[in-house]
């Protein structure tokens, strides 16, 4: 049975359809979740997609973080369910304090949209086990508020515990501290990153197919669990 991966649609989500498509193309069963849902019982993992949920009002992710479905996502994440936050999803995970730190406006003060080179720093997560440490990959990056910031203690802890999962290569596009593009929680089941794996799963729409490994990683993790 193929694993069921839920994708939450908030008002203002943009990449929910691409995420659902990527799950299907990579061999999973996509399940649409709605921000007003009060359970995530039917799924094995959850993706919080990119976009501008609630219009980015107040702060990116600040209002979505309190959507009814998020109470369930937080509970499930704390119980070990794989959760992937892409772009706006990463911002929501930080606002929800499932991941430390915050994302602020790009230091370059423009919306950045490019094919971004990344270095894989950790494969000890449910979403990156199919990569190798030190591998260079390229994913689409597109955001206005992707500058990752955290206090010194948090950065030291993230670095020390191997929780920096992706780092920007060949130039820092947005002023992120330590060139951080993606981080995970202590347990490695919650991953947030600014670049978009779901846009990089077939030659038609992406510069690479490097996004596929995110999906195969979580499928393997879920298969091993059963």
């Amino acid at each position: 049975m193929s694993p069921k991966i839920g994708v939450v649609t908030f008002p203002g989500s943009l990449d929910d359809q691409d995420a659902l498509r990527a799950i299907r193309k990579c061999g999973g069963e996509p399940v649409s979740l709605w921000h007003g849902d009060d359970n995530v019982d039917g799924v094995d993992a959850v993706i919080l997609p990119g976009g501008f949920s609630y219009g980015d009002y107040l702060r990116c992710g600040a209002i979505s973080r309190f959507a009814p479905v998020m109470a369930e996502v937080i509970k499930a994440a704390e119980a070990g369910m794989p959760v992937l936050g892409i772009c706006n999803g990463f911002q929501i995970l930080c606002e929800a304090q499932l991941l430390p730190g915050a994302l602020i406006r790009n230091d370059v003060r423009v919306f950045v949209c490019k094919d971004q080179d990344l270095q894989v720093e950790s494969v000890d997560t449910t979403w990156t086990s199919e990569f190798t440490v030190g591998q260079t990959i390229t994913l689409v990056l597109k955001n206005g508020e992707g500058g990752y910031v955290a206090d010194e203690d948090t950065l030291r802890r993230l670095e020390g515990e191997g929780r920096v999962v992706f780092r920007y290569l060949n130039g820092n596009p947005n002023g992120s501290f330590h060139d951080i593009a993606g981080i995970c929680n202590e347990r490695g089941n919650v991953l947030g990153l600014m670049p978009h794996p779901e846009h990089n799963i077939d030659p038609l729409t992406g510069p690479t197919q490097d996004g596929r490994a995110f999906f195969s990683s979580v499928f393997n993790f879920l298969a091993a669990k059963v």
Partner: protein, 149 residues
Amino acid sequence: MARVVVDVMPKPEILDPQGKAVTGALARLGFAGMSVRQGKRFELEFDGEVTEERLAEVRRAAETLLANTVIETFDVRVEPTPESAGAVDEAQNSQAGNNQAENNKAENNKAENNKAENNKAENNKAENSKADGSEAQSAEEAELAARAG
């Protein structure tokens, strides 16, 4: 009616790209030597008095939603409203206090009405520009005629 203001500012050590952009724009406009940091101001209005419990509740709201304390600081304060200022006067001279409040209300209403009028005018203009060229022209002619009249 009581008003509590919550000011939210990016922490000093956090880069403020918006403030930097505004700083740059001010310098280009000739406002030299000004360094800007940009924050947010929230006005929370309540019926009745601002009690300590109320303030504690506002602080909780600020911490929960209005500010992200990872990157921002916040400040909570009570702001006198025209009504509450009137209430202070009332203690000394009830007639004067009430008049002031009434006057303020009247002023506000007038401002509201003007805004509504302006909006209506804006809408009309938008409607006209949406219409095709000839109509827009005739609308313009009508306006000119009206002005001449």
